[in-house]
């Protein structure tokens, strides 16, 4: 999946899915270029901030991760996080954050057992 990433997260071996073009319109690297140490340094030196690469990433939502805590423990996590978030856990954006945090804790605490 093509994805725009910051230059500092770009790695040797990744392939550009879009050319890197400077403000003046000059193409620094063309589409399909495989990043190596020297062209990465060149991009950094020219102040390029973002590149588009194909990383095949499909980040999994926490709910998709295996839930490994008991129902009792999950209830405890839900209660603690509900108190921590307060009423704003019902608002759209914070509801997503709440869901992620609960899922993440359930996953981590399950692993620790």
């Amino acid at each position: 999946m093509p994805k725009k990433i910051p230059i500092r997260a770009a790695k040797v071996g990744q392939t550009l899915t879009e050319p890197v073009v400077q403000d003046a319109g000059q193409i620094l690297l063309s589409e399909g270029t495989v990043l190596d140490h020297s062209n990465l340094d060149l991009l950094r030196q020219r102040g390029v901030m973002l590149v588009t690469i194909d990383d095949g990433d499909d980040a999994a939502a926490p709910s998709e991760k295996a839930r490994t805590v008991s129902d009792e423990e999950l209830k405890k996590i839900l209660l603690e996080e509900s108190q921590w978030f307060g009423e704003q856990r019902k608002e759209e954006f914070m509801a997503e954050v709440f869901r992620w945090v609960v899922g993440h804790r359930a996953h981590i605490e399950g692993d620790e057992r």
Binding site: K4, I5, P6, R8, A9, K11, V12, H37, L40, D41, R44, Q45, G47, M49, L50, A59, A61, P62, Q83, W84, F85, G86, Q88, E91, E92, F93, M94, A95, E96, V97, F98, R99, W100, V101, H104
Partner: protein, 298 residues
């Protein structure tokens, strides 16, 4: 209360100034003919900042493929403006060492929170394709600098603030109003003005709890505000809140974030925070000697 306010203001005026190297680099950057080696020469005169800066540039946050061995190389890779910001960040983190713990809340936890907000700010900037990723990182790192005034000079009063916030499930800023009649954003703004920080950082420090009030650079406090709420929600470090501070909906609009960004954004923040947390170790007292002896890389 009035006495407390006067005491706070007096203390802020007694706080140390930033190291000369920051002012000199700032002055150099006002000259369009300044080169990377001019900036590197000035930074290299301060050996402690040089060492810390090199460690920062070699940390996972930057992820350069090869070790950056010299300041000249660091300046050419990161850019002069970003290096100036990093000098500021290292200088500010270095100014405060008080290890008196107000309750269970330590200076290290404070810096963990600051680092979490820095990392979250840069991840959000990346997510919304804002090119000023590094500037947001530094803005996030110093957004709560006013709290350092409490830790340094008012540990007892601040312990009360933390207790009030904790037992009433209040944001720290509300407890500060109750106990001190003075908030960390007000203290931070005075400090930032005294240090003559860039306007975008002054506005971040002053308005990160109420980004609507920023008039010159509203995107900085808005983005750091969202990062602060997320870092608190994710329990990354501790900043003295008794609950997740309220999210201002207008900040979301200014940043251009939506709920559908959460499932991708939060794992990134989590991983970037874990990678960057090692950065804090070089402010640990145990490592201080090692750093000061480790000057051969300049």
């Amino acid at each position: 209360m009035r006495d407390e306010v006067d005491k706070v203001i007096k203390r802020i005026h007694e706080l140390p100034t930033l190291p000369l190297v920051y002012k000199r680099v700032s002055d150099l950057l006002r000259n369009p003919y300044t080169s990377a080696s001019d900036v590197a020469a000035v930074i290299s005169e301060d050996q402690v900042i040089t060492t810390k800066l090199l460690r920062l540039v070699n940390s996972a946050h930057y992820g350069f493929s090869e070790k950056v061995e010299t300041i000249t190389r660091a300046v050419s890779l990161v850019g002069m403006q970003a290096v100036k910001d990093l000098v500021l960040a290292t200088s500010v983190m270095d100014l405060f060492h008080n290890n008196d713990e107000p309750g269970a809340w330590t200076v290290v936890e404070f810096w963990r929170h600051s680092l979490a907000v820095a990392v979250a700010s840069s991840c959000i900037a990346e997510a919304v394709e804002d090119p000023h990723v590094e500037e947001y990182f530094v803005a996030g790192l110093i957004h709560d600098i006013g709290k350092i005034v409490w830790i340094e000079y008012f540990p007892d009063e601040f312990k009360d603030v933390l207790d009030i916030a904790d037992s009433n499930r209040l944001p720290c800023i509300e407890a500060e109003k109750q106990r001190l009649g003075f908030t960390h954003v007000r203290a931070g703004r005075l400090l930032a003005k005294r240090w003559k920080l860039p306007e975008r950082l002054i506005e971040t420090i002053a308005w990160h709890h109420d980004p609507r009030l920023a008039d010159k650079h509203p995107r900085f406090p808005a983005l750091v505000h969202v990062a602060d709420v997320i870092a608190n929600a994710m329990h990354l470090g501790k900043s003295g809140n008794g609950c997740v501070p309220p999210l201002a909906p207008e900040a979301m609009e200014i940043c251009g974030l939506s709920p559908s960004d959460v499932p991708h954004l939060l794992p990134k923040i989590h991983d970037a925070y874990q990678d960057s947390i090692l950065m804090l170790s070089f402010w640990d007292a145990s490592e201080k000697q090692e750093i000061e002896g480790d000057l051969s890389t300049v």
